[in-house]
């Protein structure tokens, strides 16, 4: 192997790794706040990417209709759970969030969509759509069972993944899609050429890591979110609105997922079910990070990306096998260092 190939593989690995890092961060974030292991994170990626790709060709993606439908369900749930104490303010808030927001979004998409819509607007629309879906997903699927064990939440999470992936096929079809590049800028350094695209990936990843670290370590809201994860009841007793914390976490995660998707869809063709595999690689990073540490997750994600790049060069057949068995030695180490296993309560 010569140095050029190695550099290319490294660059490729780091670019992919940065995407995995973004997803890993989102997973850690959601887990830390809600104890949900967010398997549908991959669907946020495909929804973001393919919604953007469809908007770029001037079509209305089905996801926006899904957002409206989920908003209706969320509204019905809000009404049902608050049926014994219906305040006008509560209903108004629910209407604004669950009905007005997605319907306005739908209107906006229909008004703005077209082959010549600027890239920035398309991106903004795709992000808003996925953000709405993420928000309503928490309201519908997880908020009613937020107090249950990690395991129940995990199984529900798998259910959401199945439903969303199936819907993805309905919305985007079995054909893969690609979107136009975000920018055509490029920097050349030695044999390597850094596109504006990959530079944006690096910058966003680093930005998110720093922002999350600052947010959770140093702000009152961030600490409140962490407290929610450790002890919901205790958090509620000291005045933290635990459902709001969960919604914020899902909102952030879905936006991060959609951003990752929009960043990669100009580089590779995405299919409706690609997100799952990409998300799982983010998972491996998150697990290596113990589902708690942001910097460790980021480093692990880069390692996953590099391992993947090198194994696709040397043993492309066994690429996925190698990446997924990477987790086993990590699990061994974790199990050796694991503290006393606490008992399950329910």
């Amino acid at each position: 192997m010569n140095t050029t190939i190695m550099l290319f593989l490294l660059q490729d690995g780091i670019t992919n790794g940065a995407i995995y890092a973004l997803l890993g961060l989102a997973l850690v974030l959601v887990f830390a706040v809600t104890r949900v292991i967010l398997i549908p994170q991959g669907e946020f990626v495909t929804y973001g990417a393919l919604s953007y790709a469809m908007l770029a060709t001037g079509q209305v993606p089905g996801t926006v209709r899904l957002a409206v439908a989920m908003g209706l369900v969320a509204f019905a749930l809000d009404l049902f759970f608050a049926r014994k104490a219906l305040h006008a303010r509560l209903v108004m808030r629910s209407v604004a969030l669950n009905i007005v927001f997605p319907v306005a979004l739908l209107g906006l998409v229909y008004a703005l969509v077209g082959p010549n819509t600027p890239i920035a607007i398309n991106i903004a629309l795709a992000l808003l759509i996925v953000a709405a879906i993420g928000l309503f997903l928490y309201r519908i699927a997880f908020q009613p069972i937020a107090h249950t064990s990690v395991l129940v939440l995990l199984i529900a999470s798998v259910g959401c993944h199945l439903a969303l992936q199936g819907l993805g096929l309905v919305f985007f079809g079995a054909e893969g899609l690609r979107a136009p590049a975000l920018s055509n800028a490029a920097v050349t350094a030695g044999p390597l050429r850094f596109t504006g695209q990959s530079l944006a990936v690096y910058a966003l990843t680093v930005g998110f890591i720093v922002a999350l670290w600052l947010f959770f370590g140093y702000t009152k809201t961030g600490k409140a979110l962490r407290a929610t994860a450790v002890n919901r009841l205790g958090a509620r007793l000291v005045g933290i609105r635990t459902t709001l914390s969960g919604q914020i976490a899902f909102l952030l995660a879905s936006v991060i997922g959609a951003i990752s998707g929009i960043l990669i869809v100009p580089i590779t063709t995405l299919y409706y079910d690609t997100g799952f595999l990409i998300g799982l690689k983010g998972f491996i990073a998150a697990i290596i990070g113990g589902l708690v540490s942001y910097p460790l997750t980021a480093v692990a994600a880069i390692v996953v990306g590099i391992v993947e790049a090198f194994s696709s060069f040397y043993a492309s057949n066994f690429k996925e096998v190698i990446v997924f068995t990477l987790i086993l030695p990590v699990l061994v180490l974790r199990s050796l260092a694991a503290p006393q296993v606490e008992e399950e309560k329910d």
Binding site: I37, I140, A141, P144, I145, T148, S149, V150, L151, V152, L154, I155, A156, V158, G159, C160, H161, L162, A163, L164, Q165, G166, L167, L169, V170, L280, F283, I284, I287, L291, N317, F318, E320, V321, V323, F324, T325, I327, L328, L331, V332, R334, S335, A338, P339, V341, E342, E343, E344, K345, D346
Partner: protein, 589 residues
């Protein structure tokens, strides 16, 4: 016999179905698929519902079973019946390797790990040359007995359902045994189980292997049913589906697995054949409905369908009362080198900068009730945990009859004749009082998993249950013997814990706040029981806050404050001790 009656009826019904005239062959294929899924789900019931170890990777074990027989029969011409043990063995070996890595993980790491290796193995199956890559292996010979070849769905039907019924029978036998109680304590109550000698890591590995072997059996049958094996049915999606089946049916119940398989397989068939008509030819629509239903189910009926059905039965299955005349041999006593029963010499425990137990020394002699008292946070429970091996001591020496405990795990400490109760009651809430108490006698039985499955453990089991029933009668809870432990009042649960500790046949009983939550009369009865135990030769070390109870009962009292021993003596002397009064009432008093 009456307990077996439903099973026999079910077996007869299943045997008759293919013989009925006019049954569409397609129904038989569905029933075959249900049986295959039920086998895997049954393993998951044991693993996830009972043992609390969630696995999304069971489909991979089906793959091991199917590919083993596929390779052996097609490439080497081995007879299908000979490949059965090979298939099961390969699944079991895979389970041991993966299990050693994964079962020790806490809660959510385990399911995540299973997703990861589930996907990894799927890709491995689809890339390996000798497994036929993505195309898999075809031309697998059918099962045959003599010249009778099981070519059609209605002949292999019997092979599949005999396997299902036998597995259900063996699984239920296993759960209703000494090993079964250890498994059922894994999910909730494993800390207590360890204190009575249960090797929880071994029990976890056991259920992991058991579930894998059932999945391997399903895979072996599948290979000979389809006469081909390819990677798709052994992927992550299938693994998720199996878990779904177990959750739908009722993850805690053997028959829940079978019921769930029936519901899901039929539902899937219906969805696959009708949804495209409604929504115009789109594929994969059933996964959407599946996913939504899974989420709904968890919100509305997290326990599954089986327990819901059972609660609507007009009659309740009767429980056998154990025959208390069967004797259980006393535990073999470890030879002692010292007359002092429990000797604690400068025991010390530090948690980071906090000194929880500061060089505490005291002894407990034979036939003595010693009370350990002190204000909250004085280090009493930590001292208990040091003695019983739940926590390792930072320094110091703890010896039972001269045998040094030396930071042995709880499973070893109990063998020295030290049994305990917990400050926060640790019973398995969904097991009966009798079963909970029988865990205490775990070390006094010797039947393993295989003899339990084959019902060769009945004599041993009868002795354990008789002992448990005797101890329950001794503490005065005979009327509650068949109730679920979780349904008793907190005070009664504490008494159940004492009965469980007595089942160890201990020399030293450690009781952590036994009188908390008891009414006056109950306290008096407890005190009488403890005196009676002492007069029978046992020693008791108890932590208690009820001073009236302690002063009345204890022969000697040790007082801790902020981790340090501040006094030791008879109740009368302790009452007058100025340091003790200061610790309890403050300096001004």
């Amino acid at each position: 016999m009456t307990q077996r009656l439903p099973l026999i009826i079910f077996a007869l019904v299943m045997a008759v179905i293919p013989l009925l005239p006019g049954i569409p062959p397609f129904w038989i294929v569905l029933l075959d698929n249900i049986g295959l899924a039920a086998l895997v789900a049954m393993g998951l019931v044991l693993l996830t519902g009972v043992g609390g170890l969630t696995s999304f990777g069971q489909a991979a074990f089906c793959g091991f079973g199917a590919y083993t027989t596929a390779v052996l029969t097609t490439a080497y011409g081995v007879s299908p019946w000979l490949t059965l043990p090979a298939s099961l063995l390969v699944s079991a070996i895979a389970a041991v390797l993966l299990g050693l890595v994964t079962v020790r993980l806490s809660g959510h790491y385990l399911p995540l790990g299973t997703i990861a290796w589930g996907i990894g193995l799927f890709y491995l199956f689809s890339k390996l040359e000798f497994l036929g890559r993505n195309d898999g292996i075809s031309g697998i010979p059918p099962l045959s007995i003599g010249s009778f070849r099981m070519l059609s769905p209605d002949t292999i039907y019997y092979a599949i359902w005999v396997a299902v019924l036998l597995s259900a029978l063996l699984t239920m036998n296993l759960l209703d045994s000494r090993t079964g109680r250890a498994i059922r304590a894994l999910r909730r109550g494993h800390i207590a189980a360890e204190a009575f000698g249960v090797q929880t890591p071994r029990a976890k590995l056991l259920v992991f292997i058991y579930a894998a072997v059932l999945a391997g059996l399903s895979g072996w049958l599948y290979a000979h049913f389809q006469r081909a094996a390819n990677p798709t049915p052994f992927g992550a999606q299938a693994g998720i589906e199996y878990l779904f089946i177990a959750v739908v049916g009722g993850a805690g119940y053997v028959w829940g697995g079978v019921l769930g398989a029936g519901i899901v397989v039929i539902l899937k068939e219906v969805l696959q054949s009708y949804l495209p008509y409604i929504f115009g030819g789109q594929s994969q629509l059933e996964t959407i409905v599946f996913g939504i239903m899974l989420v709904l189910l968890l919100q509305l009926a997290p326990q599954g369908v089986w327990p819901w059905l059972m609660s609507h039965l007009p009659f309740k299955p009767a429980r056998k009362t154990p025959d208390t005349s069967v004797k259980l041999e006393h535990r073999e006593r470890a030879a002692g080198t010292s007359p002092i029963l429990l000797h604690i010499d400068k025991a010390r425990k530090q948690f980071g900068g906090v000194l929880a137990v500061n060089d505490v020394s005291f002894d407990v002699n034979a036939r003595e009730i010693v009370a350990l008292i002190g204000p909250n946070g004085a280090g009493k429970s930590t001292t208990f945990n040091l003695i019983t091996g739940v926590l390792p001591a930072t320094s110091g020496k703890i010896a039972v009859l001269g045998n040094e405990v030396a930071n042995a795990p709880p499973q070893e400490v109990v063998k020295l004749g030290v049994a305990r109760t917990f400050q926060h009651v640790k019973l398995v809430p969904d097991m009966t009082v009798l079963e909970n108490v029988a865990i205490g006698a775990h070390l006094r039985g010797n039947s393993g998993a295989i003899s339990s499955m084959l019902r060769l453990d009945r004599a041993d089991e009868a002795r354990l249950l008789a002992e448990a029933a005797r101890q329950i009668a001794r503490v005065g809870l005979s009327e509650q013997i068949d109730q679920l432990a979780g349904s008793l009042s907190l005070g009664q649960q504490r008494i159940v814990e004492i009965a469980r500790a007595l089942c160890v046949d201990p020399m030293l009983l450690l009781l952590d706040e036994p009188a908390a939550g008891l009414r006056h009369m109950e306290k008096q009865r407890l005190a009488a029981l403890l005196r009676q135990l002492r007069d029978g030769g046992m020693s008791v070390l108890l932590v208690e806050h009820d001073m009236g109870f302690v002063m009345d009962l204890a022969d000697r009292i040790v007082v801790l404050d902020f981790g340090t021993k501040i006094a030791e003596g008879t109740p009368a002397a302790i009452k007058r001790n100025p340091d003790v009064i200061k610790a309890y009432l403050g300096a001004a008093a």
